[in-house]
Symmetry: C2
Subunit: 661 residues, 2 copies
Amino acid sequence: MWYIHFRSKDRRRIHFGFCKDAVTGKHATHQFASTKMLVNTGQSTPLRRLKSFLIGSPIHERHAHNERLGVFAGLPVFASDALSSCAYASEAILGVLVLGSIALASMQIWIALIISGLIAIVAWSYWQTIHAYPSGGGSYIVASKNLGEKPGMVAGAALLIDYVLTVAVSIAAGVAALVSALPGLHPYLLPLGVGCVAAIAFANLRGVRESGALFALPTYGFLLSVMVMLVACAIKFFQSPPGHQTLIAEPGAIGSEANLPLIFILTRAFAAGCTALTGIEAVSNGVPAFKKPEADNASKTLLIMAALLTVLFLGIGFFALHIPHVELFAAKNPAYSTVLSQIAAWGFGGSKAIGFFVVQFATAAILILAANTAFADFPRLASLLARDGFLPRPLARQGDRLVFQNGIVVLAAASAGLILLFHGELDLLLPLYAVGVFTAFTLSQAGMVVHWLRRKGEKHTLSISVNLAGAVATGLVAVILLVTKFSEGAWLILVLTSLIYFMFYQVKRRYDSVTRQLTNDLRPVQTVKRMSVIVLVPRIHRGVLKAIEYANFLSADARAVHVVINRESTETLKSQWAEFAPNTPLIILDSPYRSLLDPILDYVDALREAKPGEMVTVVIPEAVVTKLVHKVLQENLAAQLKVALGSRQNVIVSNVRYFLD
Amino acid sequence: MWYIHFRSKDRRRIHFGFCKDAVTGKHATHQFASTKMLVNTGQSTPLRRLKSFLIGSPIHERHAHNERLGVFAGLPVFASDALSSCAYASEAILGVLVLGSIALASMQIWIALIISGLIAIVAWSYWQTIHAYPSGGGSYIVASKNLGEKPGMVAGAALLIDYVLTVAVSIAAGVAALVSALPGLHPYLLPLGVGCVAAIAFANLRGVRESGALFALPTYGFLLSVMVMLVACAIKFFQSPPGHQTLIAEPGAIGSEANLPLIFILTRAFAAGCTALTGIEAVSNGVPAFKKPEADNASKTLLIMAALLTVLFLGIGFFALHIPHVELFAAKNPAYSTVLSQIAAWGFGGSKAIGFFVVQFATAAILILAANTAFADFPRLASLLARDGFLPRPLARQGDRLVFQNGIVVLAAASAGLILLFHGELDLLLPLYAVGVFTAFTLSQAGMVVHWLRRKGEKHTLSISVNLAGAVATGLVAVILLVTKFSEGAWLILVLTSLIYFMFYQVKRRYDSVTRQLTNDLRPVQTVKRMSVIVLVPRIHRGVLKAIEYANFLSADARAVHVVINRESTETLKSQWAEFAPNTPLIILDSPYRSLLDPILDYVDALREAKPGEMVTVVIPEAVVTKLVHKVLQENLAAQLKVALGSRQNVIVSNVRYFLD
C-alpha cells in the first residue's frame, strides 16, 4: 500500500514529486505540465473576479497566522457586544425601579454593584475556561465535553438564537438611534437596517482581521468618548455637587406597581440590568482567532473588556442618579432621549456641545457594531456544530478567506429576515435573549466544574469554587430572567431553543443513518470480473465513433444500441456499420411508440435482469455547444436519459463529450 | 460484421431472439428476463399517467392505419378553413364595391363568379398535385422539389405564417361572433380565445382522427344549416320575388371613392373576395393523413370541398344582392350584423326563428374550427421543414399519439400569443394573410408545371396547361393582393416571411456546419491503448469503495484522489487505505485555498498535459437521495465538478451512484 502527496503550492506550480510519482515517472513531462499549468489557473472566470473584488482574493493557509488578532485588534471584535450594553443597562434598571417609587431609584447603584460582582465572577470563570480550552472554549464545547451531548446541544441552540437576535436587535437599535438623531432618514429605516447587516456581513466575509481593523475605530471611539464624558461629569460633580435630583417618567408610571412586594420589583430590576452581561462569553468562543499564544491573548482581552465594562457601567449608573435632572420616557415618546445622552448633555454642558454629539454617534455606532461580535462567533459555533453533525456540513467549511462564509451568510440572512419581519421594531426583544445567554453561561460554568472534578490528582479547589460560583450565580439569573420575563416573551426563547434543538437532533440522526448505511460491514475492494457496456448510436459521426472507442476500451462486452425512429437513417447506419465499427455488435431497438428513451430503458433493464448484480455502463455521446442559440438546436438526449436511468441500481452513466465550435 | 434486431413488441415482452443473441446466449435467462420485464414497464410514473389521461395512451405504430381519415372524416378536418370563408367573402366584396357607388354593388355576383372560376382552376391543379405527390404534395414539397430549395423555403415560410394567422384570426373572429350573440361573455373575450386555442390543440394532441370526429359535427352542421337556409331563401324568392333592394352602409361610406378609377375598385373588391380561396390547399398538404389509397381519398375530398365552397359562396353572394334589405355596417358599429345572418333572418323569417340561431352558432363554430385545419397542416409542414434541417429537429418527431406534438404546441403558443398581443382584435389581419396563401399557391402551381415538363416522353399538355393557368391566375392574385393591401399591412407579411426565411437559413447553416464538423474525414474506430482513471475519495464508505472497484475495472492506471479539507479525516483515510484499497494508489491533493474543486481540476489538467491525447475518466461517487430535505444535507460535489470539467477535451465523467434509504 502506498500513497503520493501532490502539493500544488499556489495552485499554479505543480510540485516536482507529483509528476514524478503519480503521473508518468518521467521528469520531462513534469516541466511540460508545470509550465502549461501557468495558463489554466482556475482564477479567471468573471464570477471569480467579481468575488475577489467584493471579498478579496483567496488567502493561502500559509498566511493564516496573519489573519490572527492581537489584544488591541481583538477587543473591538469581541467586546463591542458587551460594551454596547452599557448604553442601556442602567436605564433599564431605573425604568423598573421607578415603577415601585421614586425613592427606589436610589437602589439602582446597588443593583449595578451586584451585577458588577456578577461580571467579575463570570469573567474570572471564563478566564479559566479559556486556559482550559485554548483551542476554543465556547459554552457548546465545554458543555458537550463535560456534561454530554444534550446539554451541549442546548447551549449551542441557545447561543445561535442569541447571536441572531444580537445582530437583529442591536442593528435595529443602532439604526433607531441614528434615525432619532437625523429624522430625515426615517423612511429608510428598513433599508438602513438591512444595509448595515449586509455591510457587516461583507466585512466579515473579507476576513476576521479586516473587519476587526474596520470596526476598531468606532469601538475605541465609543470607549474614549464615554470615558471623557465620565471624567467631565466627575469634574463638574465635584466642583459643584448638584442637590436633589428631579426624576421625571411617563405620566402614571412612577409608583404604578407600588403595591407589589418590594423584592419582586428589585429582582425584575436586577434581571433588566443583567443584559449588561450579554456578549461577555464572546471571547471564549473566539479563542482560535487570536495570535499565539491564543489563550493568553484571549484572556487578556477578556479581562480588559470586563474591567472597561464595569467602569463604564458603574460610571453611567452613578451619574444616572446624580445629574440634577433625569427623564425616563418610553422609547415611543417623542420626548424620549437615552439616560446616557442626558448624562452626556449635562457633562458636556448642553445638547449643543460637540462632546454630546460624539457620544450620541459613538453610541449608535457601537450598538450597530455589537452585531460584529455575533458575526465573529456565530459562524465559528455553527462550524463546530456542523463538524459534529448537528448542522449541514457546508457550514463547517472554511472559505478561501479563512472565514466560515456559509455561517456568515446564514447569520446575515436570518437577522435581516427578523428585521424585515418586525419592521425594525425589535426593542421588545432586547431584554429577552438574555435568557438564552445565561442558560449558556450556566451550562458552560457547570461544565467547567465537572472538568475540574475529572482532573484527579491535582488540586483545583479555587478553580472549582470560582466556576461553581459562576454556575450558581448565572443559573440563578437564568431562572430569574425566565420567571420575570416569561410573559413578556421569554417563552418564545424557550420555544425557539427547543425547535433548534429538535433540528439539531434530526440533522444528526440523518447523518448518522447515512454513515450507518455507508459504513456498516464494509469489505475491501473486490476485482470486478465482468461488466456490460452499451453505447448509444443515433447515427455515425465523430462523437459517436469516439464513444464507441471508449466503450470498447471499457469492456470486451460492449455493444452499440440504436433506436429506430426513422427507417431511412437506420438503414444508412446499418450500411455504414461494417465500415466504421466492424467488431462492435450493433443492436437495433424498435420503438413502436416512437419514444427514444423507453426502448433503451427496457434494454438496460433486460440486461440487468439477465446478469443480476453485474454493473451496466451506458456510454452517451454528448454534444457540447457553447452558444445558447445552438443549445436549442441540439437535442440533448443525454440529460433526459441520465434522469431516467437515475433510479436504477448498478447502472453507470458515462458522458463522452464531443465539442462543436 | 453483424447486428441483432431487438424487437420489444409492446414494450412489455422481450422478443425471444433478443436475449438469446444479444445478452447471454442462454435460453433460461430470457424467460427470467421477460417475466421480470412485466414489472417495470416505463408507463407508471404519475406524470405519464396524467399525460395518458389528457391526450390518451400511446398508439402502437401497427395501429397507425386506424388513425387515417376517410373522405367523410377528412372533409371537416381539411375543409373547415376553406368553407368558413363563405361566411365573410361576399360581404367583403360588397363592402368594397359600395365605396364606388350603390350601382356597383350589382357587380358583386360577377366577381364572385370569377372567383368561383379561380376556385375551379386551383382545385383542379391541386387535384393533379395530389396525384403527382401521393406522399404529401404541399406547396413546400412541390416548390422545393421542382423550383429548388429557395422557392421551397419561401413557400414554407409563407404557409407557416398563414397557419398561425389562420388560427389566431379565425378563433378571434369566432369568439367575437359568439360574444356579439351573448354580450354577457364580453369580459371573457381573451380567456375564451386562448381557451379555444388550447382546446383545439389538445384535441389534436389526441390524434388526427379523434379531433376529426370531434369537429365533424359543427362543420357538417354549418354546411347543412346554410344549405337549408339557401333552399329556404330560394323558395321564398321564387314564390314572391322582392323588388328593388335597399342597401344601407356606414354614413358617408357609399360612393366615398367614386372619384377613383372603376377598375381600381373592382380589383380591390376581387382581392377582398379572394379570401374565399384560403385553406383550399389544406388537403394537398395532408394527403398522408388519408386512408389508402391516399391520393384518391384526398382528391375526392378536395373536389367535394371545392364544389361545396362554390355553391355556398355563390348562393350567399346571390341572396346578398336580392334580399329586400341589406345593411353593411362596420364591425365596430353596434348595429352591425353579418350579411349572412341578414340572409338567414330573411330566409327563416325573422331573427327569432330557430333556423336563424342555428346558422348564427354554426357560423361561429366553423369560424373557430377553421383553426383546426391549420392544426392539421402546420405540424406536418413543420415536420417536413425540420426533417430537411430548416427547423429544429424535435419538430420532426412524431409523438406517441402519431401526431407531431411539438408542432402542435408551437402553433398553439404562437397563435395564443398573437391573440393576447392584439387583445383579440385581429379582424384587420383577416384579409392580409391571403397574400402568403397565394404566394404559396403560385409557387406550387409553377412547381407542377416544371414537374410535368421534366417528365419527358409522355404527353401532359392538359396537365401543364391547367397548372400553368393556376400558376398565372394565383400569381396575378398574389400581385393584386400585395399591391392593393400593401399599405393596409401586406408589407407586414413580407417582413415576417423574410424573417422566417432568414431563420430557416440560419438553422440550416448551423445543422450543416455541425454535420460537417462531425462527419468530414471519419476513420473507423481505433482501439484505445491506454486511459487513466481517477476516482474521487472524500472518505471511505460503501459508495466510494464501489467507485474504486469500478475505476480499477476501467483501467490498470486507476488512482484514487483525495483533497485535504480537514487534516484529521485525511489521516483517517490514510490509515484505512491499506485495509480497504491496498492496490490502488491514493493521491493526496493539498488545498491551500480550501477549495474542493480547484486541486482536482489542476490534477486533471496536469494529467492531460502529461499524457497528451489520452482520455482521462473521472469517476465520481454520487449519493442518490430520495427526499428533498435530505438533498439539502447531501453535499453534491458531482454536479459542480461535472460543470467544471465540462469544458475540457478528452475528459469523461462517470457517476457511480450509491443509494441512501
